[in-house]
């Protein structure tokens, strides 16, 4: 390679940002042409809120947290983020199977933008899901003690978790040999949520399970959100959440970029 003039490098960075922006716009426009995507992220949180409050609300004693809905809402938010991420798995898997991937590959663009476009759209869907879940929560009695400060921290934490789950979802989308297989594999994202403090207090679990749940990232995230929304100090949960999910983001993004290049090459067969 020849040396790149200084000005060109600046331009390249700007064009790289433009690539990410264009691919994000692409995925957001997909929502407009395919609005069913939003049914997933709006209906599911409502169903879970209703299910949690009316079905489990009476049966589960959460101790110091007051009503079950106040306890479970942060968990529901993470569940909603995970369900929203499954859409990313499907979008990525579908992209890899369609001819459009060839055109992306022949462009002088930042290739990772193909993945991040879907992830950014997922953040937008996640925010919609967040708003719907909270509205549904309010309707059944969710009354968080958090003030502006608590919310101002909770929303970025939620987005961080969504981003990490979405990148994992993209990674799974790249692994699936078909859209259906990828969708099945996406359960990998959902399952850890049930083995966390998201839906039930960890105190009632058998000791071995308590060790697993207490030390997995989803529990840290849920405990952080719970503390922030109930206006309690999040303590070490906040820092653990930031480092663990930050780590997941870096690893998942790196793996997804490598896998994208590899999968795209492997798919390149012709007649």
């Amino acid at each position: 390679m020849t040396a790149v003039p200084a000005g060109t490098r600046c331009r390249s960075a700007a064009w790289g940002a433009s690539d990410y922006w264009e691919m994000a716009k692409r995925s957001l426009r997909h929502i407009r042409h395919d609005p069913e995507q939003l049914v997933n992220v709006t209906l599911q949180p409502v169903l879970i809120v209703v299910l949690a409050d009316f079905l489990f609300g009476g049966a589960i004693n959460t101790g110091t947290h007051g009503s079950y809905i106040n306890f479970v809402m942060p968990g529901i938010l993470v569940v909603a983020a995970a369900f929203a991420a499954v859409t990313t798995t499907i979008s990525v898997a579908a992209d890899m199977l369609e001819g459009v991937i060839d055109r992306f590959r022949t462009l002088p663009m930042a290739k990772s933008a193909v993945i991040t476009g879907h992830v950014i759209a997922d953040l937008a869907r996640g925010l919609v899901g967040l708003a719907v879940a909270i509205a549904a929560g309010y309707a059944v009695g969710f009354r968080p003690a958090a003030g502006i400060g608590g919310w101002a921290m909770a929303v970025p934490v939620f987005l961080l978790v969504t981003l990490a789950l979405s990148l994992l979802a993209a990674l799974i989308g790249l692994l699936g040999k078909s859209v259906e297989v990828a969708q099945q594999l996406a359960a990998i994202i959902i399952i850890p949520i049930f083995f966390s403090s998201a839906l039930v207090p960890a105190g009632t679990m058998p000791p071995w399970l308590r060790v697993v749940t207490a030390n997995q990232p989803v529990t840290q995230a849920v405990d952080t959100l719970r503390a922030l929304l109930l206006n309690q100090p999040p303590g070490s949960h906040l820092w653990l959440t930031l480092t663990e999910f930050g780590g997941i983001i870096v690893v998942a993004f790196t793996l997804a970029t490598i896998l994208f290049k590899r999968t795209a090459n492997a798919l390149a067969v012709g007649g």
Binding site: H33, V269, G271
Partner: protein, 336 residues
Amino acid sequence: MGTSGAVGARLHDGNEPAIAAAGLTKRYGKTAALCDVSLQARAGTVTALLGPNGAGKTTMVRILATLLRPDAGTARVGGYDVAREPERVRARIGLAGQSLSVDGKLSGPENLAMFGRLHRLAWPVVRERSARLLEVFDLGGAGKKAVKAYSGGMRRKLDLALSLMAEPPILFLDEPTAGLDPASRHALWDIIRGLVGRGTTVLLTTQYLEEADALAGSVVFIEAGRVVAAGTPAELKARAGQAQFDLIAATDADVIRLTAALGTLAVVTDQARRAVRVAVQGSGLEGIRELNVITGAAAAAGAGIERFSLREPDLDDVYFQLTGHARPPGAAGDAA
């Protein structure tokens, strides 16, 4: 990195071919999709890669378009090695393929704008070219409809429009008119001719001999991954043999009179139809003199002639000759 097609058009060396492939080989498992294929295309010309289904045409295009790595051999496109500097090659090529590389969940204008920006063109350029391409390809009427609702022909036109966004100096077209109606096909041919007139180098694959003849300055025949013939359409047609003067005699007795008058020149090709074929050896004036002799002899013998036709060999003859398939009797081109 070139920000416009014009920058990319300049090759390292003015004499270097726009596309130069040497000894390309690609295997899928045990089957060789390509075996030692070489070709060269001069800048500003159309080269047709002709062959039946599964001949390796798409594999060839995918290697040249940096989408596939060859197992052996080298290829330079636009002055750069496809394996070593794929990004530089990508900045100089456009690809419209059988796979229809369009985003079905976006509208046509959205596709053009997105790919224009991903080609790193400035917004005013993107807007101007999108508007022009929508007009040239007659796609403006589709408006904001998602591409998945387009007809096959419209998708194909959009696919080609997308590959023209960056005005690439080199264009790969993989069966660009497969499945198009005749009007759309001719419209597409006109567009391709216009591009070549302005200096674009085109490599197209096709199964249609008519298409290769209509567009290409040179033709490379491949079958089962190997080059079986290459040359200009005229050279290839010359290989297929001479022009043929076909006569249909009025009665069986006329057939006998004709063959008696013309001697070994005449061959009865179909007794039932009373068809007599006379091969014309020369071309141009020489051929006309031969025809004079033939028609004169036929008239002098008093043979009744119902119909006649003169047929130049076409690429179909080359195709059937090279692929070893028999030309079906009475196939296109035999008509009076």
